[in-house]
Symmetry: C2
Subunit: 545 residues, 2 copies
């Protein structure tokens, strides 16, 4: 077990520079159904792994369109040999994949809940290639599904029917990092962890960090408006993305790749592409604002007896840690149980109904530890924190983060995950978990909640051995109605994809949806880009075929 | 004179809690041409003052359209008595102003460089009133110029011809501040300083601060995407604005007033209205992310011998002050000279070619002072800082800020200001000032530069006694070409308005401008909202009359 905090002596220990932590058990890769032959995608930290060729998967995952009989294929052309030949003139034979086995991993999402039946994968390397390909597809009325690292959780990055998959994986050039402004320029297919290393070597850090960083790509992150683990400190991508280059469905390249931090010349078009899930354009380049590498990172992993105590801890944390607070992540007991059982990581502290990971990032180790110690001492005196471990050692910090970052993977090992990414006001934040537990009872294996308390963002995960249509009927639309009634958002950071899109009208007003549709019709009148996503299914009717 | 920093003893002094500052001379309001009968608009700090009824002004400021003969009035209807009567049924007689004297201040911009000839001012109080008014104006083809605090610097908030002025001044209700999330909800007409006081009383601070805070309104700030003094710490409004409600030209209300921090349901429409300068919709409500009030604010006002030293100071500052750095503002000697001569504030330190105001904001006074002292000691040892004063006393902090915040006003007192708001890479940042000095020589009174080094944002101000068409020909388009060639942006934070719009093609690619025009035509097909702004003049041709 970890060393426990002892009331009163904590700050003294810290001031003497002692590390209050213990070694965690970090066994190797789990030998479960997640196959990953391609080692280059597994990059040391966990990362999401692409599902490449698992026959297990191909036989057990139902095609998305068969699961959604109300969804009809749009009036798109079907890919012909002539199309393939044209694509090969642009990309060469190596850039056009039609092998069924090789396509499998690109047709299935990471959660194994969505499966398309695309017969072509395109792998461009340049913006100009993307432009030529999209222009052709638009003329020929061929639907296209853009794909980055395919780590999305709402089925937005895989085809629904036979859409052509356009992967940005080979668009992975890093251009530069401006040492003065901290602006990084790169192609859309750069993997987050690669960028993290690149800027890290130049004394900068990225403003975004995700559990999926070993696979997810910056273009996909921007297109999803992914939030991640450090949003509470650095804010959303709408503020941190300085430039975007994107290709419209008609092949027009929209270059908003400014490298200056402030630019108020005309409409801020790059915002269109942040969070529109590849339905308005394919992001090809990104300029991202990075921050100087902090010289001190400290993590505390603590136990709270109730969710009310978690909230009190957050309020106190924000007040006392203020400028150094960089993450405040919550997990419940059910999540920790899954982590211990399914991915063989040990709980670093004692059993508790709630766990919180607090990270501070600053320029003076001693100052940060003093602040953290002072906060924890008060918190323990007030009985809102009952147990904890804390460290500034990079290895230990990594181990503590692993526990939090592997939560999604751990739950996935249960079999099938019904995953919901909700924004909720603090009063309602955790309440949905016991509500769902009561509603589902023994019909499910686990009902767990974890997430970014600092951003009001809860990841509700319900698991069963196999996909169960009866369970989903009990969950949806109940969970969306509940969230809306409680003043929340039905998709905090994962987007709408194919899973949430039927519920858009719960989230947005009719006038807003009309404006969204008008914009989509303006930019993509044939609706060739990532169809069936974001909007309710009937929106295909605006297609101008 | 202020106490000077003495090498070596600085940190000792700080650790003993001594304030290294001196009283500044803060004489009362200057008795110059800026008249301000309406005391309620002057709110203690400087603030920009509205020009109400000055006869001096009305006789000396030329009408904008007369100064721009190439600009033609769009094919809009003219306001009739019938229209006035309709407006009165919506707003009552008090909400419809037609008195010429009263209209004067609303027709002229703060810089006294633009003047419209509107004959009607509408003052709605509710979103529904704005909706009815816009719907009517759209049907009748009446052009509308939305106006907030009218503190913009590019002529974006005053009419060019006879557009109806729609002021949000009476839409000044503050709804609430969520104590947990820090999200503030309010109407668009709330004055920044009023909001600052409101959230301050609830232990929060706003993420944006402007010199014009005594008059500027949150709706106008959002519509301009104003940057301001603390962007270096809290980021841009694209990240800090959580919700927007806006009314489209056809009267449709688009409600994106989410109060949750993360919401990825559909396109992020609120981004459309941030920085589009009232050409896509009238912002009626705003939800803004606020931050817990810091318990410690410290300001250092320092002298640097060269601009190279300013840059080195910034790099060192960002590294050593990191998480507590909240402002890094530069002024050159010419700016300080104007401040001393024109607004009777005393230079708090000795004469120097460059001055920098550094602000730290944190949760532990002692920690922040230690960091600042350590940074300054090294900086003085390295001869990049030669002189300085520093304080944590709120009154002294305010006085030091006043010197920086009154720079724009001080220069305006010279007579006429040719003001440019440029984003530039660090190498080119200040170089434009000596370039312009050489180019203009004795034809101008002053050529001064100040701004937000931390954001790469320079305010270049050239002054003459009176407006001189020969001088402007020497400045424009030279300054825009130079900025573009040096990788900068011709409008960092003030927008395009009427002054910058002819140069949009220098700033953005043809495909980007096409997409902007398409969006404008989609949302405002009759181009009734703030015409002649943002786009080059010929864009009126897309009007569908």
């Amino acid at each position: 077990m970890a060393l426990l905090f002892k009331r009163g002596i904590l700050s003294q220990l810290l001031l003497r520079g002692r590390q209050l932590t213990t070694k965690l058990s970090t066994k190797g890769m789990p030998e479960a159904c997640l196959t990953c032959a391609n080692e280059s995608r597994y990059s040391g930290s966990w990362g999401y792994r692409r599902i490449h060729t698992s026959k297990f998967l191909s036989t057990t995952i139902e095609l998305t369109y068969k699961r959604l009989p109300e969804l009809k294929r749009g009036p798109y052309a079907e890919v012909t040999q002539k199309d393939i030949e044209y694509f090969e003139t642009i990309l060469g034979k190596g850039g056009v994949i039609t092998d069924k086995d090789e396509l499998e991993g690109y047709n299935i999402d990471w959660y194994k809940t969505c499966k398309g039946c695309s017969s072509v994968l395109l792998r461009p390397r340049t913006t100009e290639e993307v432009s030529k390909l999209l222009s052709y597809c638009n003329e020929q009325s061929l639907a296209v599904c853009p794909q980055g690292g395919n780590t999305g959780l709402v089925g937005g990055s895989v085809p629904v029917f036979d859409e052509i998959i356009m992967s940005t994986s080979l668009m992975n050039e890093v251009f530069d990092l401006d040492q003065m402004s901290g602006v990084l320029g790169c192609q859309a297919g750069c993997v987050l962890e690669v960028l993290e290393k690149y800027v890290g070597e130049r004394n900068y850090m990225l403003p975004v960090d995700l559990g999926a960083k070993g696979s997810c790509q910056i273009g996909g992150i921007v297109s999803t408006n992914a939030g991640g683990l450090r949003l509470v400190r650095y804010g959303s991508l709408h503020g941190n993305v300085i430039g975007v280059e994107a290709v419209l469905p008609n092949g027009n390249i929209v270059d908003c790749m400014s490298h200056v931090r402030k630019d108020n010349t005309g409409y801020d078009l790059k915002q269109f592409f942040i969070g529109s899930e590849g339905t308005l354009g394919v992001v090809t380049k990104v300029a991202l604002l990075c921050h100087p590498t902090p010289s001190a990172i400290t993590v505390a992993f603590i136990a709270c007896p109730t969710f009310e105590a978690v909230l009190k801890t957050f309020r106190s944390c924000r007040e006392k840690l203020s400028e150094v607070l960089s993450a405040f992540e919550m997990m419940d007991g059910a999540t920790m149980e899954a982590i211990e059982q399914n991915v063989s990581l040990r709980n670093p502290i004692g059993l508790s109904p709630f766990y919180v990971l607090i990270e501070t990032v600053g320029s003076e180790q001693e100052h940060d530890e003093e602040k953290l110690a002072s906060f924890l001492e008060t918190a323990m005196e007030n009985n809102i924190v009952t147990d904890g471990t804390m460290s500034s050692d990079p290895g230990h910090v990594r181990e503590l983060w692993d526990v939090r970052e592997r939560a999604a993977e751990a739950l996935l090992h249960d079999g099938y995950v019904y995953s919901y990414d909700l924004s909720l006001p603090s009063k309602a934040y955790y309440h949905i978990v016991p509500v769902m537990k009561d509603r589902l009872g023994s019909k499910v294996k686990r009902c767990a909640g974890y997430g970014h308390v600092g951003d009001g963002n809860l990841h509700l995960n319900i698991t069963t051995q196999d996909y169960d249509p009866e369970v989903i009927k009990l969950i949806e639309p109940f969970v969306y109605d509940w969230t809306t009634k409680n003043g929340g958002s039905i998709s905090a950071e994962h987007g709408m994809g194919i899973k949430r899109c039927p519920y858009l009208s719960l989230a947005k007003s009719p006038n807003s949806i009309k404006l969204m549709k008008d914009l989509k019709a303006l930019i993509d009148p044939k609706c060739i880009l990532n169809p069936y996503k974001v909007f309710p299914y009937e929106v295909n009717s605006f297609s101008e075929f």
